[in-house]
């Protein structure tokens, strides 16, 4: 086995581990796994510190912050801190810890970072409209056979197939 960071788990084994963790999450906490929820809570908590009146008056922020809410002491926030730690441990184990910008040799790092920023911005916007991301809405929704979860999954992957072709010069 090469120890140069190019080793990955067999994808089916990786899927079984991921599915088992998701199953445990439902069994223990009664809910699925997520990622974007922690971002939402952090944004709401930050705005609440700077402009509490604004949060109170907002039909959106007031669902998560202000009043009795404690957006930073939230299951999703703890879970996402765990994600960071778990991925870091895997990076150590597989020797993948390295500071770099990963991109196709045909584009510059600058271009890659610009598209990463825009992609993150657009994705982040979409997560709030759909009430969750690929993990919180799609995967966790699919585990409990949620119709919305399946619809979101098809919309994400279906669109990405088409959009990837538009942005193909960034990738291949």
């Amino acid at each position: 086995m090469k120890y140069d960071g190019s080793n990955y788990l067999n994808p089916y084994l990786g899927g079984v581990i991921l599915g088992t963790v998701l199953l445990l999450s439902f069994y223990i906490s009664g809910r699925g796994l997520g990622a974007s929820g922690a971002v939402k809570n952090t944004v709401a908590a930050t705005v609440n510190v700077i402009a509490p009146r604004h949060v109170e008056e907002s039909a959106y922020y007031s669902q998560f912050a202000g009043g009795e809410h404690s957006p930073m002491s939230n299951w999703l926030v703890y879970e996402v801190l765990g994600v960071l730690a778990g991925a870091f441990l895997s990076g150590i184990l597989f020797n993948r810890l390295k500071l770099k910008v990963e991109h196709s040799p045909k584009i510059t790092s600058r271009r890659r970072l610009l598209f990463a920023l825009l992609g993150g911005l657009i994705f982040g916007f979409g997560t709030q409209l759909a009430r969750g991301c690929t993990s919180g809405a799609a995967l966790s929704g699919m585990a409990v056979l949620s119709l919305g979860g399946y619809i979101t999954m098809v919309a994400i992957f279906g669109t990405a197939f088409g959009a990837a072709w538009i942005f193909r010069k960034n990738w291949i």
């Binding site: 089916y12 991921l18 445990l24 906490s29 994600v83 119709l147 990405a160």
Partner: protein
């Protein structure tokens, strides 16, 4: 012990947060070790040179769906206590479309960008940072989207009920479909030019 354990009152809410960290660690480990810290590996699905996303994602969906049904039928889990993502048609579709565009541009989804950042991928960190701006923009412009956000509400609707079949039969069909997809993915991957990354 009948799950979900938290609702049974056997563990305190503080323990729920400790479990959240541990579950998150398992989640992050599974994603990173499968290769989801690499945007070029993730995006391979859309060009046919690496289907790791399809394989991991659908294997996980099968394992968790089947597992929940098994635990429920063995009386070890109260399915009605689980959080089922509510269905709002318009926002599920349009939110998904917007996410698909961000996915193709950035090469990550939120969870995978975090894993990439954890192993030092600067593009992952920037994507994750971009999300904060996107979430902020949505929150501030919420009144513009409020109508769409709540339209087409169907409650905690389950997909099997749309087809008028049992959850067990739906999950069985899902397994068959996934096996077909895995086979198709392998077939395509063998015919597509390899890409070094």
């Amino acid at each position: 012990m009948i799950g979900p354990i938290v609702s049974s009152g056997l563990i305190s809410p503080a323990w729920d947060n400790i479990f959240a960290v541990l579950l998150g660690m398992g989640f992050g480990f599974a994603l990173e070790s499968s290769g989801f810290s690499s945007s070029r590996k993730i995006i391979g699905t859309f060009f046919g040179y690496d289907f790791v996303v399809v394989k991991v994602f659908f294997t996980a969906a099968i394992v968790s769906s089947l597992g929940l049904l098994y635990l429920s039928s063995l009386g070890l889990l109260d399915y009605s206590q689980l959080y089922i993502q509510p269905t709002f048609l318009a926002s599920a579709i349009f939110g998904g479309i917007i996410m698909g565009i961000g996915f193709a541009m950035g090469g990550f989804c939120p969870g995978t960008s975090l894993c990439a950042a954890a192993v030092g991928r600067i593009d992952g960190l920037i994507f994750f940072g971009g999300m904060f701006i996107g979430v902020f923009l949505f929150s501030e412009s919420f009144p513009l989207f409020e109508k769409m956000y709540y339209s087409g509400s169907m409650g905690a609707k389950m997909i099997n009920s749309v087809f008028g079949i049992s959850p067990e039969l739906f999950t069985f069909l899902l397994v068959l479909m996934a096996i077909g997809m895995f086979w198709g993915a392998g077939w395509i991957q063998n015919r597509v030019k390899k890409i070094e990354y």
